[in-house]
């Protein structure tokens, strides 16, 4: 019927215009014999896609791109995207920070460019409380040896520890990130790490200081050994992560940056050791385990002072 042919032609024309609108480089060839459904074959360039399948895929890709757009910072979902980690991922990142290797970049290898805020936040909280509690415990141990030292819970140290650790773990990455962006301002190649990735690196690198509860062992050279080991691991992790970013820079800037990072880390470790950990009294002669097994009321005769409680 003529009407049906007209309708078919219209449908085919619409289909052709739609396809053309989407891929402007295509050219339409029409087969001489219409198929019963009246399809139009569209021949496209090499840059285009074939058939209707890729249309669906490009639609899907467009949709996925829209989903990947970050929601605004005032929505809850924005912050939820930073906590999108599983237990196994967090444990893997912690292991990666404990064992830095020269070729392994923490950001690329472990974070895989998906930083999280869970690790830095709770590692800093744990570290602050561990420092305060361990510091308090050393005071207890010191008082058992030398009863003239007045023991008190020293709760204000928790506040100090918290503020110090959080400021270090958030302000130093901010400064580092700013500096790296300034240095790379002109070159548009591989960009520096985002702010969150830097925070992540610093946060996870602080994890190695948590076992400093071992500093309770009152043997001085052992304490310094543990401190040096922790500092070396932590600083090595930072240096290996930052090296790929700064190696394209001038040698002077690279060395200055890396040495500043290591220096700040050292300052933090030393400051924590001296502020939170009570140096043990030196005039005690008896070995530590003997002093701890005795009740505080009885004293070894070498101590000149007597208990005053």
């Amino acid at each position: 019927m003529a009407a049906a042919d007209e309708l078919a032609f219209h449908a085919e024309f619409e289909e052709a215009t739609n396809l053309l609108a989407q891929t402007p480089d295509a050219a339409i060839t029409r087969s001489d014999q219409l198929t019963p459904q009246g399809h139009v074959a569209v021949v496209m360039d090499s840059g285009g896609s074939y058939g209707a399948d890729d249309e669906v895929e490009s639609d899907k890709a467009a949709l996925l791109q829209e989903e990947k757009q970050q929601p605004g910072f005032w929505t809850f979902g924005y912050y939820q995207s930073f906590f999108d980690v599983d237990t196994s991922q967090v444990l893997d990142r912690i292991k990666g920070s404990l064992l830095p290797r020269p070729g392994h970049n923490f950001v690329r290898h472990h974070l895989r460019n998906r930083p999280d805020l869970y690790g830095p936040f709770w590692i800093c909280a744990t570290l602050a409380f561990v420092l305060a509690i361990t510091g308090n415990l050393t005071l207890v141990l010191a008082q058992r040896r030398d009863p003239s030292i007045h023991y008190s819970p020293q709760f204000h140290k928790v506040t100090v520890a918290g503020i110090t650790i959080y400021c270090y773990a958030w302000l130093v990455p901010l400064a580092l990130w700013g500096f790296l962006r300034w240095r790379r301002g002109v070159r548009e190649r591989v960009g520096p790490y985002t702010f969150l990735e830097t925070v992540c690196v610093y946060g996870y690198s602080l994890f190695v200081f948590i076992p400093t509860v071992l500093w309770l062992i009152p043997v001085p050279w052992l304490q310094w050994l543990f401190g040096a080991l922790a500092l070396a691991l932590s600083a090595a992790g930072l240096v290996f992560t930052l090296w790929p970013v700064v190696r394209e820079d001038t040698r002077l800037a690279a060395t200055v940056l890396l040495s500043t990072v290591v220096l700040l880390h050292t300052l933090l470790a030393m400051g924590c050791k001296f502020y939170f950990f009570q140096p043990l009294p030196l005039e005690h002669v008896a070995p530590p385990h003997q002093a701890m097994s005795q009740p505080p009321n009885t004293l070894p005769p070498t101590l000149p002072r007597s208990m005053a409680t």
């Binding site: 809850f76 237990t87 709770w122």
Partner: protein
């Protein structure tokens, strides 16, 4: 006025007569008033309940709230997987517990301001901001528990630690010594474990299974810090 319509008889039809066919033959000469009372038992009870909570005595109101708080205390002391704590949350219990704990942790007179134990404000801040942080953490990790439900659970599970604080204060009335310390240490450890078990019994189900440990660890840290404050309390 209802008048019957004369239904024309059809003596010749063989159709069956419809139901109630004879009703149309009835004619009523006067109106029957249709009035009366419809009493629905439910509605009257609701109405009575609404007005009673306004007019009841203050003692009734307080006792009702106290009973609710007491029931939740029982649920914490014997943790089962029930929804009572979650369903009707309230923050009275956590407030009572936090204030009691903070008051008991205060020292009588401090020789130096800086060297003392936690002050009232510090305990308060740690408990409430700690609970808020844990709740935010669990919600950001994708848990499906509401904000106040989580605060309620965390606050109520401080009850074992408050009991531990009471016991510690009583034990500290005796003479100081290592036995004293061991008793206090044991009590605090047991109550700490009780708190953790109670709170995870309520909170663990609301997390996706591959993130449970991530959500439970801050709870552990929170109760650990409170236990530490209780254990290191020394009266002066």
């Amino acid at each position: 006025m209802a008048e019957a319509a004369e239904s024309p008889g059809d003596p010749g039809t063989a159709t069956p007569r419809p139901l109630f066919a004879g009703l149309s033959d009835i004619s009523i000469s006067q109106d029957i008033p249709v009035e009366g009372e419809i009493t629905i038992p439910m509605r009257s009870r609701v109405r009575e309940f609404d007005s009673s909570t306004l007019n009841e005595s203050v003692q009734n109101t307080i006792m009702r709230d106290l009973k609710a708080v007491g029931k939740k205390f029982m649920h914490v002391l014997y943790p089962r997987k029930s929804n009572t704590l979650l369903r009707d949350w309230d923050l009275w219990g956590p407030l009572i517990l936090c204030v009691t704990l903070a008051l008991m942790l205060q020292r009588g007179s401090v020789d130096s301001e800086k060297d003392g134990g936690p002050q009232f404000a510090e305990v308060f801040v740690i408990v409430w901001f700690g609970a808020v942080t844990i709740t935010l953490n669990s919600k950001l990790l994708g848990g499906n528990i509401s904000f106040f439900q989580s605060l309620c659970v965390l606050g109520y599970c401080i009850l074992p630690l408050t009991v531990a604080m009471l016991v510690c204060r009583l034990v500290l009335l005796a003479e100081l010594g290592p036995i004293n310390f061991m008793v206090r240490f044991f009590v605090v450890i047991v109550m700490f474990a009780w708190s953790i078990v109670a709170s995870t019994a309520f909170l663990a189900d609301s997390q996706p299974p591959n993130r449970k440990a991530l959500a439970v660890y801050p709870v552990f840290l929170f109760y650990f810090v409170i236990s530490w404050m209780i254990l290191t309390f020394t009266p002066q």
